[in-house]
């Protein structure tokens, strides 16, 4: 069984990576790339807390939630790609057995506290859970750390090797296949790599303390599934022949077998890895697994006192969060992807999985994980920064792959009419205004069928007294969709002579912003 489990773990991990790789242009939507992200058991629950609505788009998670009371935490042991990477990391760093790591036993309540705290915060519209959602964590790490690092190292070493004359042929062969199959686009570069990598590295590094440390003590998804499986029907039966060698106890990934009584399993902790059956000495082979219609119950390691303390702490932190970092200046550049819901709703619904950043045609130059500017909750939600990359006029893929529809799946025609913001000229530096020379690269690139940037011919007087006609550009508010190609292509070396702000942005199904959300005056 343990062998089958390992094979399934690898299959699910590869499936996740395959869906990740498939999230690119040209996008084939017969198998949506966000499918696996909708496996996360937390998403439908927190979506429900938010909207009191059960959405069928979360069917994979709903199926898992439905089966768990019968079968237990099989998701953690068999499916979760973060769990699989944790297992692999454990092999590398040589996790200690439960003889040594058993001492952290008392931390079990922590994951329930985190789940309860996240739930309470969610009632007050504070989205903490998505930072700790295992599938979000994994997808973030893939998008920001694993894939860019893998591709940059592969590409650079292949290009380096291709300089060696007798290697040129085979290396270019490998290079062409690498480009075709793994990275047809340019190298992805994504912000926030340090912090996202750090979180991922800590989660994997905790294996040094105990096996599945994250799953045992921290993961809120594990807590939810554990809570649901306290009565599970599928049980481990220990036969008479058991010599009580305690091997199953010390080797248990989750320390779910109590030291005193190996015939018992803590159903809340057990992730059904079947290692116990595997390590049971061949002579004894006394462990079997079977369905029982009158299952015993395992108690949740979360006392009433702990619950009260957790609730207190979450409400207290709520108070701190609501103080916020009141920074209105930072708002004007917080441009969200086209079709993103209204900001507060968006922050609630976005699970920070960064699938939109992954599929963005700019390869992390336009859409990227945000840092903290105006509010703590902006961390790692997608933000469109236009100076280094812009939103492709003919692309609507970010909305197609958003697992929670925090970015609405707009049709291309709808997207092309949805302003993300509005462009403004900085006439102090814009070449035709500041230097009296023609440029209008912004006008050249403007993609709307009727250009949102037009220009007028102005007669200007030069410093030497002579005069000259210059093409001076201007923006037409009703035509501009804030795609930002003007800001990207502006040939000035530093700041752009034209920049996009959130003014006039259209969020969700509403009308373009006038003054209600950010206090910009309507004109």
């Amino acid at each position: 069984m343990a062998k089958t489990r390992r094979i399934f773990q690898i299959i699910f991990l590869l499936f996740f990576v395959l869906l990740f790789l498939k999230a690119r242009y040209p996008y084939d939507d017969s198998l949506s790339s966000d499918l696996f992200l909708r496996f996360s058991p937390l998403t439908p629950v927190f979506y429900f807390i938010d909207t009191l609505e059960l959405r069928w788009i979360f069917w994979p998670a709903l199926i898992i939630l439905f089966i768990t009371p019968f079968l237990g935490r099989f998701f953690c042991g068999w499916i979760c790609p973060l769990g699989t990477s944790i297992d692999a990391a454990g092999k590398l760093v040589k996790s200690p057995s439960n003889k040594i790591s058993g001492k952290y036993h008392s931390l079990r309540y922590l994951k329930f506290a985190i789940l309860a705290g996240a739930g309470i915060l969610a009632l007050f519209s504070v989205n903490l859970w998505s930072y700790l959602d295992p599938l979000s964590i994994f997808n973030r790490a893939l998008t920001v750390t694993v894939y860019p690092l893998f591709t940059v190292i592969t590409e650079q070493s292949l290009l380096f090797l291709s300089n060696i004359p007798w290697l040129e042929e085979p290396v270019y062969f490998a290079y062409d296949h690498f480009k075709e199959l793994l990275m047809p686009e340019e190298q992805a570069l994504v912000n926030q790599i340090f912090w996202i990598t750090l979180l991922f590295a800590i989660i994997l590094g905790l294996e040094r303390l105990s096996r599945r440390f994250w799953c045992r003590y921290i993961c809120p998804a594990g807590a939810l599934l554990g809570f649901l499986s306290q009565f599970r029907f599928y049980e481990r039966i220990v036969g008479e022949a058991c010599p009580v060698c305690n091997k199953c106890q010390t080797e248990c990934k989750m320390n779910a077998i109590p030291e005193g009584d190996v015939s018992f399993t803590d159903k809340i902790e057990c992730i059904e890895c079947f290692n116990c059956g595997d390590v049971c000495p061949p002579k004894a082979k006394s462990i079997t697994y079977r369905w029982r219609w009158k299952p015993y119950h395992s108690k949740v390691d979360f006392t009433r006192r702990q619950f009260v303390v957790t609730s207190g702490i979450s409400l207290f932190s709520l108070g701190m969060l609501s103080v916020g970092l009141k920074n209105k200046d930072a708002h004007q550049k917080r441009i969200r992807p086209p079709g993103a819901l209204e900001e507060n709703e968006f922050l609630d619904r976005c699970i920070r999985c960064l699938e939109c950043v992954r599929i963005c045609q700019s390869n992390g130059r336009c859409l990227q994980p945000d840092g903290i500017h105006g509010s703590l909750l902006e961390l790692w939600v997608p933000v469109a920064l236009m100076r280094d990359g812009y939103c492709e006029y003919n692309c609507n893929l970010c909305g197609q792959v958003c697992p929670t529809e925090a970015i609405l799946p707009l049709t291309l025609a709808e997207k092309q009419k949805t302003p993300m913001g509005l462009a403004y000229f900085d006439k102090n530096i814009c070449i035709p205004f500041a230097e009296n020379r023609d440029c209008i690269v912004c006008e050249e690139h403007c993609p709307t069928p009727d250009k949102a940037i037009k220009f007028e011919l102005k007669l200007v007087t030069l410093p030497d007294g002579s005069s000259k006609v210059v093409k001076q550009p201007y923006v037409i508010r009703d035509l501009c969709i804030g795609c930002g190609i003007c800001e990207t292509k502006c040939p000035l070396p530093g700041n752009s002579g034209i920049f996009v702000t959130i003014e006039n942005q259209k969020r969700g199904l509403g009308e373009p912003d006038q003054e209600e959300v950010y206090g910009y005056p309507a004109n």
Binding site: Y25, E185, C395, I431, E435, E444, K451, K489
Partner: protein, 297 residues
């Protein structure tokens, strides 16, 4: 280095030619430029090549040929922002028939490169004829000296372009609000590296500075669909006019000059072309052209 050598000899010939009018007219049986209209892209091309004495006049057996279309924009062919894909496919076939070793098709795009290659349909059509259609690789630009440069003394050019034995420049005729038109000269921006936006101030001088060093052996202007407004991106079918025309000349300046007629512009209006003529970069006397205008059908 072959191409380098060619450029050198081209410059040398360029300087000698004006003093040897007799020599220039030796090849007078084939015209200096062709204007063909009223046909499908493939028909226009084969008719034009026939008038020119066949593709063999330009492409020799064993040549590495670069075809430089305009596929800089994420637009379908109907929008006339990119060169006609059928025309490119037919041209690739012609080159291979003339014995070309390899035919390469590429462009440094303005929009996302993969989207441009795909939506322009040039990737698909050119690959059907076995052309090598690769993305631009950032590490393959080479800085070249611009000896004739007034404002610019050097610029980065794509290495595959420099190393090719023959270059065929295939722009689509489009409106452009800065340069009035984008034709052969402007199309060569697709092989330039660096910050191309900066070429746009003092455009007329800078574009001539660079292109004068990298003249192609043949220029074919695709005037099948002509974008008359909102260029060079377009996006509105109402701005596209179906002219079913093709202009071909071994001299890029001559081809560009003739194509002005598609827009009703005169040489005086189009600064960069005027500058090129002022510097004498035209191979033929524009006032006394030996050119043929043919209407098919």
């Amino acid at each position: 280095m072959k191409r380098r050598a060619f450029i050198k000899s081209a410059i040398a010939t360029g300087t000698v030619l004006p003093f040897m009018p007799v020599l220039a007219n030796v090849n007078s049986q084939s015209p200096q430029a062709i204007w063909i209209e009223n046909g499908e892209p493939e028909q226009l091309l084969s008719a034009a090549l026939k008038e020119m004495g066949g593709i063999g006049e330009f492409v020799k057996s064993g040549d590495v040929v670069v075809i430089k279309p305009n596929m800089g924009w994420d637009r379908a062919p109907e929008y006339a922002a990119n060169t006609n894909p059928q025309l490119i496919r037919a041209l690739v076939k012609e080159c291979y028939n003339a014995g070309a070793k390899t035919v390469k098709v590429f462009d440094r795009t303005c929009n996302n490169p993969r989207r441009c290659y795909q939506n322009s349909q040039i990737e698909k059509f050119a690959s059907e004829a076995d052309a090598e259609v690769d993305q631009i690789r950032q590490n393959r630009f080479e800085k070249i000296d611009l000896k004739e440069g007034v404002l610019l003394k050097n610029w980065e050019i794509y290495r595959d372009f420099l190393e090719a034995d023959k270059v065929i420049n295939v722009p689509i005729a489009k409106h452009h609000s800065l340069s009035h038109v984008t034709l052969g000269m402007k199309n060569l921006m697709g092989v330039m590296g660096g910050n191309r936006g900066s070429i746009h101030s003092d455009f007329d001088t800078k574009i001539v500075d660079i292109t004068s060093a990298i003249f192609p052996q043949l220029t074919i202007i695709d005037g099948y669909r002509v974008l008359t407004k909102n260029g060079p991106v377009g996006g509105n079918l109402a701005d596209v006019s179906l002219k079913k025309t093709l202009i071909m000349s071994p001299c890029m300046i001559t081809a560009d000059f003739l194509a002005l007629e598609l827009f009703g512009h005169s040489l005086e209006q189009v600064g960069h072309l005027k500058e090129a003529v002022r510097r004498g970069l035209n191979k033929y006397d524009l006032n006394n052209l030996n050119f043929k205008k043919i209407s098919l059908s």
